[in-house]
């Protein structure tokens, strides 16, 4: 295919179809080998009686490896990309061919990502984010590091060119590119370790439980079998019961301490791996974030793409003044962690970052905070209670019929229901919304409050939804159409919902979408 645009501007464009780095076949093949492990294990264990079981398993592995490797090679052969004068074109597909063209103006972010294996081989994944999301994005998996960097600079230059070419000189964007970026947020080692300790995580136990389940067939420990626990812990004469009360208490305490240490360490390791060398810079094009120890990521978030900001905290870290800031961006990729801009910062550090993005973290002094509907508060509490009441009724019937235990145990569910209802009544006091001249503010939560700030004119649509109870009792849920995220206000008095919608629609109507994305 001849790139006609490129003919007009031959100096700038390489109209040659290019291939990805040959080593990407190796990475794809190795990644595919993971799929071969399970069939190999299955084959081995199903035939372990026979002397040739191991060879059969290896043979199956080999066949799968060859097939996967072959496909990886074919896919690599048949994947070409062209960096044209106005767009990037990708042709792919082994049997059926797909050709996709993305104009530079539509590319919002170019992100580079390196996971462990590609990093060892000096490869990088280049992703062009267009706002389409998910599989619709063009991903070049993988190029060499140099190629990746060059391509990103090239795309940024082209993209700038498309915008600036109208008036300013081309040299202006050369200067802009070389301009040193301001670091607006960074996390040193000390901050990272503090952060990691707060990221207490028991994920490792979930993994262990999964492994145990996997191993159940090979080892005689059966985690989900009550007999196992009863035999070892509860029965008189079992190992634990024979220890005596003092030892039991000490053992329990040791268990909890171990749990705490393991949880903290897991959190620390995960955080250090993810956020090592966290740097957020303000560049000419927007925010640039780099982080990661083994998997390095380098993401650019253009300023005008930020649709809303979200802050959150945890109930312990809040005591020490730590909060997290993330953006809701139009070019949202699937991962939720991808737009964390300050995962562990004080409010004093967060406010300037939000200001750079064009957001405020506090409404102006004269803006009033509103609560939700009182009717909603009561109804939600009643609904919470009723659900648990029904569970209790079911449990009581079940226990009576089976005779396993006293039906009075169902009262536990009733108690939980009462607790949930009380919680709902109580938490209502901490839910607020406010409408400033430019922003919508939504605050939620008691011990770990969350704050969402959305720009009024960057909202896409508004929907008021009322269920049957809500209609009788005069409240509604207001859904904001937010690009790249979700935002809603539950249990608003209907008048307030309509007032908010009317006001926000008024500010939306003044600007067209194209003025927002620029």
């Amino acid at each position: 295919m001849v790139d006609q645009e490129a003919d007009i501007e031959p100096a700038a464009a390489s109209a040659e179809p290019l291939r990805k780095h040959p080593l990407s076949v190796v990475v794809a093949g190795l990644a595919g080998l993971q799929n071969a492990l399970f069939p190999m294990a299955a084959a081995y264990f199903s035939m372990r009686e026979k002397w040739w079981a191991l060879f059969a398993a290896l043979g199956i592995g080999l066949v799968i490896a060859v097939v996967i490797g072959g496909f990886a090679y074919l896919a690599w052969r048949r994947f070409t990309y062209i960096v044209g004068a106005t767009d990037i074109r990708v042709e792919s597909g082994i049997v059926s061919r797909t050709a996709r063209s993305v104009p530079y103006e539509r590319i919002q972010d170019v992100s580079l990502e390196q996971s462990l294996l590609p990093r060892l081989l000096g490869l990088v994944q280049v992703k062009f984010e267009t706002g389409a999301g998910g599989d619709e994005e063009i991903t070049l998996r993988y190029l060499s590091e140099d190629q990746g960097e060059t391509l990103r600079d090239l795309v940024r230059e082209r993209k700038d060119g498309a915008v600036i070419a109208i008036g300013e000189a081309a040299s202006a964007n050369e200067a802009a590119k070389e301009e040193p970026a301001d670091v607006i947020f960074a996390m040193g080692h000390k901050r990272l370790i503090t952060f990691g300790l707060f990221e207490f995580s028991l994920a490792v136990f979930a993994v262990l439980a999964g492994l145990f389940q996997y191993a159940e067939t090979f080892v005689s420990i059966n985690l989900w079998d009550a007999e196992f626990w009863r035999d070892n812990f509860a029965d008189p004469g079992s190992a634990v019961a024979s220890w005596g009360p003092a030892v039991q208490i000490i053992a329990g305490a040791m268990g909890l301490i171990t749990l705490f240490i393991v949880g903290s360490l897991t959190g620390l390791v995960r955080t250090v791996l993810r956020d090592w060398g966290f740097v957020l810079e303000r560049t000419a094009k927007g925010f640039r974030r780099r982080r990661g120890l083994l998997t390095k990521t380098d993401v650019v978030m253009p300023l005008h793409r930020v649709q809303a900001i979200k802050t959150k905290t945890g109930f312990i870290r809040r005591r020490f003044g730590w909060h997290a800031l993330s953006f809701v961006s139009l070019a949202q990729d699937s991962g939720s962690a991808s737009h964390d801009v300050a995962p562990f910062a004080t409010m004093e550090e967060i406010a300037p970052i939000a200001r750079v993005a064009g957001f405020a973290v506090d409404p102006q002094a004269e803006t009033r905070w509103y609560r939700g509907s009182r009717e909603f508060r009561v109804d939600a509490a009643i609904v919470d209670f009723c659900v648990l009441l029904m569970i209790a009724a079911g449990a009581a019937v079940g226990l009576t019929l089976s005779g396993l235990a006293s039906p009075l145990f169902a009262l536990i569910a009733v108690a939980i229901g009462a607790l949930l209802a009380f919680r709902q009544m109580f938490l209502w006091r901490f839910d607020f919304n406010a409408l400033g001249p430019d922003y919508v503010f939504i605050k939620r939560g008691w011990l770990a409050p969350k704050l969402d700030v959305a720009s009024r004119i960057k909202l896409q649509s508004l929907e008021i939804v009322q269920g049957p109870i809500a209609r009788k009792r005069g409240y509604a849920t207001l859904y904001f159409g937010l690009a790249g995220g979700t935002l809603e206000l539950e249990g608003l008095p209907i008048a307030r919902a309509q007032e908010l919608r009317q006001a926000i629609l008024g500010s939306i109507a003044g600007t067209d979408f194209s003025e927002l994305v620029g």
Binding site: S461, E463, I464, V465, G481, L482, R501, G506, A509, F513
Partner: protein
């Protein structure tokens, strides 16, 4: 330039009457297998006459006759100067407003049934995650095309 829009249901425009017919035919196609199934069970004479067929037919009649009419009555739209409002739902009322300036693209779809009755579905797409596409079925085909042109003209004017 923008007009305020009142939030009451009085300002809503009703859909094309043929929409009821089309939804009824779809409903018939939906309940038909169940009705046939119940008749087969009756023929097999497993239980006294009417245990299967009577409730099934009553329910089917309700789904075919009553529900489409109620849903039609609950639906409505309002094409304002700079925004489209779409209301739907019997039990759960959904009341969406999409400003023209936020419409990404517009579809007008006609299935075979809809074409036979001269109606169409207008769909406006927005960049928002919630309400990424707002469907408005049961418009007269010409109305749908005219609405598309209105919205498109508005987008063009704002953009240039």
């Amino acid at each position: 330039m923008q007009l305020t829009m009142d939030d009451t249901d009085d300002s809503l425009t009703a859909l094309h009457p043929n929409h009821v017919k089309v939804t009824r035919i779809s409903a018939i196609l939906f309940v038909l297998p169940f009705v046939i199934g119940s008749i087969i069970l009756e023929v097999a004479e497993l239980l006294p006459f009417g245990i299967f067929v009577v409730p099934t037919v009553l329910l089917a009649a309700f789904i075919v006759i009553r529900v489409p009419l109620r849903r039609y009555q609950a639906r409505g739209y309002d094409l304002g100067n700079d925004r489209l409002r779409v209301v739907r739902g019997i039990l759960f009322r959904h009341d969406s407003v999409v400003p023209f300036g936020r419409v990404q693209h517009i579809d007008v779809d006609q299935g075979p049934l809809q074409r036979a009755y001269g109606i169409a579905t207008l769909t406006v797409h927005t960049a928002g995650t919630h309400n990424s596409s707002v469907h408005l079925p049961g418009l007269g085909n010409d109305d749908a095309l005219a609405m598309r042109e209105t919205i498109r003209a508005h987008i063009k004017r704002e953009t240039t």
